[in-house]
């Protein structure tokens, strides 16, 4: 726990910290301005729950933008160590390399979960605000489809795990933030452009885009993707762990 706390201290005054908060606010604010500027276009048909359409836009935004933000957050967190040239110092402390690897990865996942939770807290809060400020949008007349939202959250999180592990490895190995981020964004771009190709499910960076226009009936976890994700996660965890503990010189 103390090691995890030290990671929290390191995040103080960093761009990674502010990006976790501001990045989570970015898409919900875009949606807010769109709903405010073109309210008439978003008025639902009688009896239709507006939350479904609103959440779908939030989900798609999450697939499109959050993945980029997540790559940047990973790069920035590891850049703190690269910039301080602190790997050599960490490795001379009475703590195993394996522990350093796992604590940092856990901290990165904790930051990403915080980012995603904040993203949805902001999105739902903005929906409720619109329900009060713009009654014609009918947000206040319907319940939030919680199952739909939580199912997406779970599936989305599962979809990004292999990408996070690979991006973590890349950012560990490449000191230059621009290069590691560029590789991540390139992967995401390929995943987005070829998202309809039948074999794209085997490309880890494409997984989040398989969630595009997410439908509750097509649950992501029930398909092959779940097992492909697990296999990729275990494979890249094993490879990066071995590389970090045996070969990485810092």
């Amino acid at each position: 726990m103390k090691l995890f706390y030290t990671e929290l201290i390191k995040l103080k005054n960093t761009f990674a910290f502010w990006l976790t908060i501001m990045g989570a606010l970015f898409m919900p604010l875009l949606l807010l301005s769109a709903y405010l500027l073109s309210t008439k276009e978003f008025v639902p048909a009688p009896g239709v729950n507006p939350w479904y359409e609103y959440l779908l836009r939030t989900f798609n935004g999450s697939c499109l933008f959050s993945t980029g933000f997540i790559s940047l957050i990973i790069g920035l967190i590891l850049n703190v160590e690269h910039k301080a040239h602190s790997w050599k110092h960490l490795f001379t402390l009475p703590v195993s390399r394996g522990k350093v690897y796992l604590v940092k990865l856990t901290f990165i996942f904790a930051t990403i979960i915080t980012f995603i939770v904040l993203y949805f807290v902001f999105a739902v809060s903005i929906g409720q605000f619109l329900g009060t400020g713009k009654p014609e949008l009918k947000f206040s007349e319907f319940d939030i489809p919680n199952v739909y939202m939580f199912k997406f959250l779970l599936d989305f999180f599962v979809s990004i795990i292999p990408m996070v592990v690979i991006q973590y490895w890349i950012s560990l190995r490449i000191e230059n933030l621009v290069t590691s981020l560029g590789l991540g964004l390139l992967g995401l771009l390929v995943g987005l452009l070829f998202k309809n190709w039948p074999h794209i499910v085997y490309f880890p960076y494409a997984m989040p885009f398989q969630m595009w226009n997410y439908q509750l009936s097509k649950s992501f976890v029930s398909q092959n993707f779940f097992w492909i994700n697990i296999a990729y996660t275990l494979l890249f965890l094993a490879l990066s762990y071995h590389d970090f503990t045996r070969r990485f010189r810092g």
């Binding site: 103390k2 790997w87 050599k88 110092h89 001379t92």
Partner: protein
């Protein structure tokens, strides 16, 4: 070096190469006894930092092994490092954080109480600057903070790679006094690397000289001084130097013709009066009689230069 002393650091036939066929270190055998301040000397690129990285388990030797506190260093020797404080090259500091935060990070990992953080800040003279962001620190202050981090665990062994880099003369003296105090009062064994002998000659009890990855000298500082004395000469100039040479050789004084003057190998101070009497009695006019002592720096350089020659 005596093998009967308890060795805190011992390397046996350590070799290392960054690429195949090119060894950065060749058969290095360090022996550092308990309570010593060991000056690890060598020019830039000699292999000092590589050796230190091997000692700290940051690099794996291609040959040989390292013993710390009498125990073999392996991939799972993390516990050994709870007794070691180190500073390698430039200190690893998080510049976006305060000096205090930097210390707290290491203290947390090492399970050290916060009271010790305040203590080490005071030891290195940074107690008034603990709350300042490290990016605002001068180079010397950063070096002191790096030293404070190394001192956090109250180590039995301190490994410092060029710790006086960036310090002004006052700072160098302060660090020197602090290290002497740590060694004297707490029995801390210190390995300090430097490329300048003058910087550490007032500090060290033992010296190791490394060049091109090979140990050229290892022993007590007194041993090095002995070598220096052996390199001292007496310069002599008289009105009849040819006669003086014959006289000196007849009386078993090893003499040779130098660039300007006659040079006699210095053995002891009595030799000066004996040579003077000999020349005066023979009726020679003495124009010059001077003892030329080799400085430690010259001794150091002459040892280094031996390997540079083909």
């Amino acid at each position: 070096m005596q093998n009967t002393e308890e060795l805190i650091i011992e390397t046996s036939h350590v070799s290392f190469g960054f690429s195949k066929g090119q060894n950065a270190l060749n058969d290095v055998n360090l022996q550092i006894p308990k309570g010593a301040i060991y000056g690890f000397l060598g020019p830039n690129g000699a292999g000092k930092t590589t050796t230190i990285r091997i000692l700290l388990n940051l690099l794996k030797p291609s040959n040989g092994y390292v013993n710390l506190f009498g125990k073999r260093v392996t991939g799972t020797s993390n516990n050994l490092f709870s007794r070691i404080g180190s500073l390698i090259e430039t200190p690893s500091l998080y510049e976006h954080l305060t000096g205090l935060d930097n210390l707290l990070i290491t203290a947390n990992i090492r399970n050290i109480p916060k009271s010790r953080v305040t203590e080490v800040l005071e030891i290195v003279g940074l107690s008034s600057y603990g709350g300042m962001h490290v990016k605002k620190y001068s180079l010397g202050m950063k070096q002191r903070l790096g030293l404070a981090i190394a001192l956090l665990p109250s180590p039995d062994l301190l490994i410092l790679d060029e710790p006086t880099n960036g310090l002004d003369p006052t700072g160098i003296i302060e660090i020197r006094e602090l290290l002497l105090l740590l060694c004297k009062e707490r029995g801390v064994t210190i390995l300090i690397s430097s490329h300048l002998l003058a910087e550490i000659e007032k500090l060290v009890s033992h010296v190791g000289i490394l060049n091109q990855g090979k140990m050229l000298f290892q022993g007590s500082f007194k041993n090095l001084q002995q070598i220096r004395e052996e390199k001292s000469i007496i310069e002599i100039d008289t009105d009849q130097n040819d006669r003086a040479i014959n006289l000196l050789l007849e009386n078993n004084h090893p003499v040779s013709q130098g660039k300007e003057f006659l040079e006699v190998k210095f053995l002891n101070i009595c030799q000066l009066s004996a040579i003077t009497s000999l020349l005066v009695i023979a009726g020679l006019a003495i124009y010059r009689m001077q003892l030329i002592e080799s400085s430690l720096e010259q001794t150091f350089l002459s040892i280094i230069n031996k390997t540079g020659q083909p």
